[in-house]
Symmetry: C2
């Protein structure tokens, strides 16, 4: 296809952070838009010095951009790579090439690996606006993705970004598909595994919808934003690292897909599998233990669905050259005592230090996952859990953690938020339910993960006895206002949050 016409304009940077969407600005009195037949929200092509980018046009009033000038948002400006004042050429853009494939997906057809590559390429190069991105996610959610499509999509996602490479035939990894607050086993499992000699370069994410991601929690204790070179160095020395994957460019299409999944609060199983497989493979993993929590509100709500999901992960992993072991775990209540970055970091340290008051559920789950990882990698044959327990109890895992902490850049954990509210039992009995989603919401209202010091301390778990007046929860916040919001929410939802029978 050919363009209609072209206009020359002066380039200006408009310091607007539009995430990854490239936006161009044109004054509403400028004749360019009329000459080219362009409207606000149309897609244009901007080229200079042989480089060419796509942007979504915003027609603006007032003095934002002078006549004869094209403004570009930060990401667009950087992508074009020309300096302010350069004469750029503006043309109406044809729709991205993969929109034909996208329409086929909407029509219910199975896409080829090539078509999925075109789509991922258009996503990563910001050729998709929110409209196309949402259409892809929603059509993949409604029509599903076949195994063939997941493989094609995963490979395309891997190739669209950078990859880490470690000089080892076994590169261990561990992942949880999420949904359970406080489930912070990763730093413990990685420390145990590295202490036993495994190579485990752990890349983790920040929170998207939870009160803390692993990267948010670990960041309380150490720097997690490392370059690939520093990651290689830490792993060469200690066998493991604990870094934020977002600082790397691993399967970047995934981060853009999450941007539209989040407001809709929808989960496409195919996209989730593809995203996890692509992140693991791009991070260099060969052997992965996959924690699949089962319970209300998790991604695998029943054991049956969990089994099917596990099978799918394992089969597809093999076809990508990864050995994946899916493990169905109890996702019915929060894990550990702390919810929120600082409180979770405290739990992690207590378990690693073998403190007497360390949360036993977090310790047990970490030992189970580490043991399974030893079995999967051939480090143990039947005695995996015992090996994990030895490495933890002996203090070797803690020592490993502290070495990684020093190498990455040690940080000292601040105390939790100074504004607190205790929630006490109002009756005698036995705890029969602690609700994941309500605990999550309280921690978020208190300020987590944005304020790492905010969160919830859970004093009682299911099965514990509770006497009237005993502590159930303590809410921590940095401000009176946030504390009041979280407390009010609790009062309105206490009946569903913790049940005593």
């Amino acid at each position: 296809m050919i363009g209609v016409d072209a206009m020359k304009m002066l380039l200006k940077r408009i310091g607007i952070d539009t995430r990854r969407e490239s936006i161009a600005f044109l004054d509403d009195d400028d004749l360019t838009s009329r000459a080219l037949g362009l409207h606000s929200m149309d897609r244009i092509e901007v080229s200079a010095n042989g480089r060419r980018i796509l942007a979504v046009l915003n027609i603006v009033e007032g003095s934002v951009v002078p006549l004869g000038t094209l403004g570009l948002s930060n990401v667009a400006f950087e992508k074009l790579g020309a300096s302010a004042g350069t004469l750029v050429e503006v043309t109406p853009a044809e729709p991205p090439a993969s929109v034909d494939a996208l329409r086929l997906k909407i029509a219910g057809r199975e896409l080829s690996a090539l078509q999925l590559r075109e789509i991922v390429d258009d996503i990563v190069r910001s050729r998709y606006s929110k409209v196309e991105l949402t259409a892809f996610v929603v059509s993949a959610t409604i029509n599903g993705l076949s195994d063939k499509e997941i493989l094609g999509l995963t490979n395309a996602m891997i190739e669209s970004g950078d990859q880490l490479h470690f000089d080892s035939t076994i590169v261990a990894d561990k992942h949880s598909i999420g949904g359970v607050p406080g489930n912070r086993t990763t730093p413990i499992v990685a420390s145990i595994a590295a202490a036993a000699g495994l190579i485990i370069p752990k890349t983790s994410s920040r929170s998207v919808t939870s009160p803390a991601g692993t990267a948010d929690t670990v960041e309380v204790l150490m720097n997690v934003e490392l370059s690939p070179e520093r990651i290689y160095d830490v792993v060469r020395r200690e066998g493991g690292c604990l870094v934020w994957g977002g600082a790397l460019n691993l399967a970047p299409a995934d981060d853009m897909i999450i941007q539209v999944e989040h407001p809709l609060n929808i989960d496409s199983q195919g996209l989730m599998i593809s995203s996890i497989l692509a992140k693991k493979k791009a991070a260099g993993a060969t052997h992965v233990v996959l924690d699949i929590p089962v319970g209300p509100g998790t991604k695998a709500q029943t054991a049956e669905k969990g089994e099917r999901l596990k099978e799918r992960f394992q089969q597809l992993g093999l076809r990508l050259g990864m050995n994946i072991r899916g493990l169905l775990t109890d996702g019915s209540q929060p894990i550990g005592n702390g919810i929120g970055p600082v409180l979770e970091a405290e739990d992690v340290i207590k378990v690693l230090r073998n403190d007497a008051d360390a949360p036993q559920d977090l310790r047990e789950k970490s030992l189970y996952l580490a043991g399974e990882l030893f079995e999967l990698t051939g480090k143990a044959r039947g005695e995996g859990r015992a090996l994990a327990e030895k490495k933890l109890s002996s203090g070797e895992a803690y020592e490993k953690f502290e070495k990684i902490r020093d190498l990455q850049g040690r940080r000292e954990r601040p105390p939790p938020g100074s504004h607190t509210q205790d929630i006490l039992a109002e009756t005698n009995g036995c705890i029969s339910k602690v609700d994941n989603s309500i605990i999550t919401r309280i921690a978020q209202l208190a300020g987590a993960p944005h304020n790492p010091e905010a969160g919830v301390y859970i004093a009682k778990h299911v099965g514990d006895a509770a006497d009237s007046g005993q502590l159930l929860l303590r809410i921590f916040s940095e401000s009176e206002e946030s504390l009041a919001f979280a407390t009010r929410y609790w009062r309105e939802n206490a009946h569903a949050g913790i049940e005593i029978t």
Copy 2:
């Protein structure tokens, strides 16, 4: 649900036309976003003087908004209705209430009338970002809409906007579902119908994807942007009018839905039916003749699909209290000689004036539709077409058109674009095909509808004899550049554009 926190900020208007999307701007050094845990693209609530709006947040660099100040795009600023410098309250917004219903639609469930009303309400009040809007359109496209859903959606769309009311038990209307360039029967049918005494307050649309909408074409000859009061006055005096519906607020959700359908180039039959029914009902119509062109590239590609569509329109129309008569017409090639506003206006005038060189296909089709409208409204019983021909041939229809033209505000038609390119037959034979989509594309590349003078004159239709060297097409443009683009496109696609056998 409750908000997390709130901040007070000074209000500023940022003159950015973001169509109907409300955008808020905050400096990246401002602490508000951190305090509230907000990121670019998050949705916020802004309130002042008891009014409250929703906006999508953009975090901006540089000197766009001072610290402590919240910028709002035009549409958001006007919706809030507060003056610059007002102290406004900013809070993170909960997702729009209807997102739960939207998720049900994605999951394949049938929505209730109440749920559809919530969705339409959120769309019209700009509470939906492009993400939710696209999710709604794509899920309605993939999962379809039941008759019950179409009725619920149509009623919700009607009630979400303004309505016209005429003091007559019969209010005639005419609509084409589109896809055929040059199909400009509306001004002719309306003039004939009004000349015969029918009340026909015609509201038409501008082009979305075609080289001209009826409103674009009529605007060449008269003012089409009338207030409801002036419409009532013109209709009271002459029985009919020819106005742009977009200047009124009829079923406004539809205009927002089109914004995401367009870039995806998808058609949801359910949404299309709902949109047409809502616009007709809101415009006060009781009897509607519906032109359903059948042919490659139209919405009803085969006669069978056309029949099903017609049945659905007629049935649903009855349940909304409208008498609809669907008519399957030949959509295999363009209608009339001119494509583009000025050239089409010329065809319309020639037919109305009974000129010897008036395009006979346009005349015939207009008489057919007008005749059917007479039958449908009981104005005729079997002799509808004869009555239509009488009103046209006698000059009464032209006289009616000219009176409406004078009342609405007469404009004189400019000549077509001065840059022209003739396309001649290169062989002798008979025209066997004139392709709708290629003719459309040439007219658009030449500049239509943005430049009303641009377009294509079609000298030969299917069945006409063509000798080598005879004129097939003449392309009109306002600029050499556009003409060159259109001509180049023709050269590359001539084989598929017109076939001579």
